[in-house]
C-alpha cells in the first residue's frame, strides 16, 4: 500500500516537473527568439487589451459594491486640492486687499491687514505644492489590481479579492521568475558577445551596435515593456545630443531599444561596473571616475569632443538630474545646452495603469525598484521624437533649455515646472524669499 502511494507520488512529481519545464521552455523560446532576431509575434497587443478589460471590470465592481453598501465613492483627485485661479502678482493682490479696507489714506502705508495675503499664500503652499507632488508616486483613478494600491479600496468585495489573489499568483509565480531568468540570460549573453566583439580589429562598432541592440531588446522583453515610438523620422542622428525627461533608470533601456546611444555616467563597481566595461569595448560611451565628475570643465570637454565627431553616436543626457514622477518636467540643467550642437528632445510618457515606473530613490533602492517593476503587469510607454532644435542667435543656454523643456512637456502632456529637481534633497535658497520681500517693500514705497 505504502509502496503504491510512494510510486504514485513519484509519478505525480515527475509529471508536474515535466509540465513545468516544458511550459517554461516554450515561454522562454517564444520570448527569446524574437528578441534575438528582431521579430514581433503580436502577443503583447492581446495581453494589453485583456488587462484593460479586466481593470475596467474591476472598477465597475468597486462602484457597484460601494452603491450596494450605500457609501460615498469619491474618485481620488489627480489635479491637486486647490482651485487654480489666475495667478496675480503681489501688487495686484495687495490692491485687492487694501481697497476692501476703505482706507482713507492717500499715500501707501503699511497696513496691518497686509500680512493676511502672505498668511494665506503660506497655508496654500502647505496644502498643495508642485514640488512635493512631483516627487511622490502618481495616483490612479481606478484600481489596477496591484498590491500596492490595495489599501485604497477596502470595500472591494469577494470577487475582486479573488481576482487580486489570482493576480498575485500570476505576477509573482509566473511573470517574475520568467522575467528574472530572461534578464540574467540577456546580461550574460550581452557581456560575452560584447567582449568578444571588442577583440575584432575592424568593423568593431558596427557589430558592436548589433550586439548592443540585442542586449537592449532582451532587457525590454524581460521587463515586458511595450513601447510605442512616435515620429521616428525625428530619431536622433549621429553627432548630436539627445535629451529626455527622467522617470527611472530604465529610461535608458526604453530609448536604446530603438537606436544606440552613448551614455554618460559615473564608473560603478560590481556587476554594474562589469556591464559598463563590457559596453565600452564595443561602443563608445563616456564613463567618468568619481573624482572627475566634480570637474565641470573636464566633463564638458569630453562631451564636446564626442559630439563634435559627426560619426559618433548621439549622447543621451537627462538634464533634470534626478527622477521625477512623470506628471511634470522639472528644470533642465544648462550644462548640456552650452555645448552648442544640435539637440534632439525625446519625450517619454509611461502608462501608469500597468505599473508605476517612477523610482522614488528616497523610498527604495535600485534592486527593490527593479523587483517592483518586474512584478507589475507590464511597462507600457510612449516615446515621442521631437524635431531637432538649435540654439538661436542671442539666446543663452538657460533660455534654450527652457524652450526645449516647454516643447517636451507640451508633446507628452506633462506640466512644465520651473523648480529645480535638486530640491528632492536640498532646500530652496534664501534668495527667493528676499525677492518676495523686495517686491513687498516696493509696494510700500512707490505710489500704488
Amino acid at each position: 500500500m505504502l509502496q503504491f502511494a510512494q510510486s504514485a507520488c513519484n509519478l505525480l512529481c515527475r509529471c508536474l516537473g515535466i509540465t513545468f519545464v516544458v511550459w517554461f521552455t516554450i515561454l522562454f523560446v517564444i520570448i527569446t527568439v524574437p528578441a534575438v532576431l528582431e521579430v514581433s509575434l503580436g502577443i503583447h497587443r492581446f495581453y494589453i487589451r485583456t488587462l484593460c478589460r479586466v481593470f475596467e471590470w474591476a472598477t465597475l465592481q468597486i462602484e457597484l459594491s460601494a452603491k450596494q453598501k450605500n457609501r460615498q465613492f469619491s474618485k481620488p483627485h489627480t489635479k491637486g486640492i486647490l482651485s487654480k485661479s489666475k495667478p496675480l502678482s503681489v501688487q495686484e493682490n495687495m490692491q485687492e486687499l487694501r481697497s476692501s479696507a476703505h482706507s482713507r489714506r492717500s499715500e501707501p502705508q503699511f497696513d496691518m491687514g497686509d500680512v493676511i495675503y502672505f498668511c494665506r499664500k503660506g497655508v496654500e503652499s502647505i496644502i498643495d505644492d508642485e514640488v512635493t507632488k512631483s516627487f511622490s508616486a502618481q495616483e490612479l483613478e481606478s484600481w489596477n489590481l496591484l498590491t500596492r494600491s490595495i489599501r485604497r479600496f477596502p470595500h472591494r468585495g469577494l470577487r475582486l479579492t479573488l481576482l487580486w489573489g489570482l493576480g498575485v499568483l500570476i505576477r509573482y509565480g509566473i511573470l517574475l521568475p520568467l522575467r528574472v531568468i530572461l534578464a540574467v540570460t540577456g546580461i550574460f549573453l550581452f557581456v560575452i558577445l560584447s567582449t568578444s566583439v571588442g577583440f575584432l580589429p575592424n568593423s568593431k562598432f558596427f557589430l558592436g551596435e548589433k550586439v548592443h541592440l540585442m542586449g537592449y531588446r532582451f532587457c525590454v522583453k524581460s521587463l515586458t515593456a511595450f513601447i510605442t515610438y512616435h515620429n521616428s523620422e525625428n530619431r536622433p542622428k549621429n553627432g548630436s545630443i539627445c535629451v529626455a525627461n527622467h522617470t527611472t533608470p530604465l529610461d535608458v533601456i526604453i530609448l536604446a531599444n530603438d537606436r544606440c546611444y552613448s551614455l554618460v555616467g559615473q564608473v560603478h563597481r560590481g556587476l554594474l561596473g562589469l556591464i559598463q566595461r563590457a559596453m565600452v569595448k564595443s561602443s563608445p560611451h563616456i564613463w567618468f571616475e568619481r573624482a572627475e565628475v566634480k570637474d565641470r570643465h573636464l566633463v564638458a570637454k569630453r562631451l564636446c569632443d564626442h559630439a563634435a565627431d559627426k560619426t559618433k553616436q548621439p549622447i543621451l543626457i537627462f538634464p533634470e538630474g534626478t527622477c521625477v514622477n512623470n506628471t511634470s518636467v522639472m528644470m533642465f540643467k544648462k550644462g548640456s545646452f552650452e555645448i552648442g550642437c544640435t539637440i534632439f528632445p525625446v519625450a517619454i510618457k509611461y502608462d501608469f495603469r500597468f505599473g508605476d515606473a517612477y523610482w522614488n530613490s528616497s523610498k527604495f533602492g535600485l534592486v527593490h525598484h527593479l523587483l517592483r517593476i518586474m512584478s507589475s503587469w507590464a511597462l507600457v510607454c510612449s516615446v515621442w521624437y521631437l524635431p531637432p532644435m538649435n540654439r538661436e542667435e542671442g539666446e543663452d543656454a538657460v533660455q534654450f533649455a527652457k524652450r526645449v523643456k516647454a516643447a517636451l512637456a507640451a508633446q507628452a502632456g506633462l506640466a512644465d515646472l520651473t523648480w529645480d529637481g535638486g530640491l528632492k534633497r536640498t532646500k530652496v535658497k534664501d534668495a527667493f524669499k528676499e525677492e518676495q520681500q523686495r517686491l513687498y517693500s516696493e509696494i510700500l514705497w512707490f505710489k500704488v
Binding site: 486647490l82 476692501s100 502672505f118 503652499s125 512635493t132 489599501r151 527667493f432 518676495q436 517693500s441 510700500l444
Partner: protein, 215 residues
Amino acid sequence: MGAAPTRIGQQDPELVERTGFSPEQINNLHKRFLQLSGNKDTISRENLNDIPALAYNPIKSQIIEAFFDKRNQHDSEVGSLEEITFQQFLMVMSHFRPPTLEMTAEEKEAMRKEKLRFLFNMHDTDGDGKITLEEYRKVVEELLSSGSIEQESAKEITDAAMLEVASTNVPHMGPEDFYEGITFEHFEQILKGLEMESRMHIRFLDTATVHCGKS
C-alpha cells in the same frame, strides 16, 4: 504605516463637526498630511520647513509656528507643541475654511472673529494677550527686506502704526502713560473695515464626488 489612509472623513464624523470641512476635503487633507509627514502620524517643524514653495514666503517661520501654537487649537492653553497630529493639523486649517452659503450672520461673525484670533496669535508670540511694539516690529521686519536701511524704516513704520492705534483706542492717554500693547479688542477695531472672510480662506477644488445610494 499608521492608520488606514482612506475614508478618515467617514470614520470620524466628529472631525467634520469640529472643523467644518466636508468629508471629501478631510480625506484630501489627510493624504496631504501623510505626504508631508512621510506616512507617519505626526508632523514636525522640519516637515513643513522642507516645502519649497513655502521658502518664498517672508513670514514662513510665523506661519509654521502658528501650526504648533496651542492657542490655535481652540484651547485656552498657551505654549507650543513639538509635533502635531492630523486632528491638530485640521484644527489649525479650520481657521482657513471657506464660508458656505448657508451661514447665518452669527456664524459669519464667529468665523471672522476666529480668523482675527489666528492673526492676533501670529503677532503675539509670547502669548500674553497683547501685541507689544517689539512683537509688531518683528513681523514688519520679516515682511520687508533684510537690508539695514529697511530695518530703520521698519522701526519707523512700526512706531507710527502703534501711535495711531494708541491714539485711536485709548484717546485719553496722557503723555506719561505707557501704551502696553494692542489687545485683541483693539486689534479687532483696527481691522474692522477689512473684509476677511473672502481674503483669508483656501479655495478648494470642487472634486467630483459620486454620491451612491439613497440621499
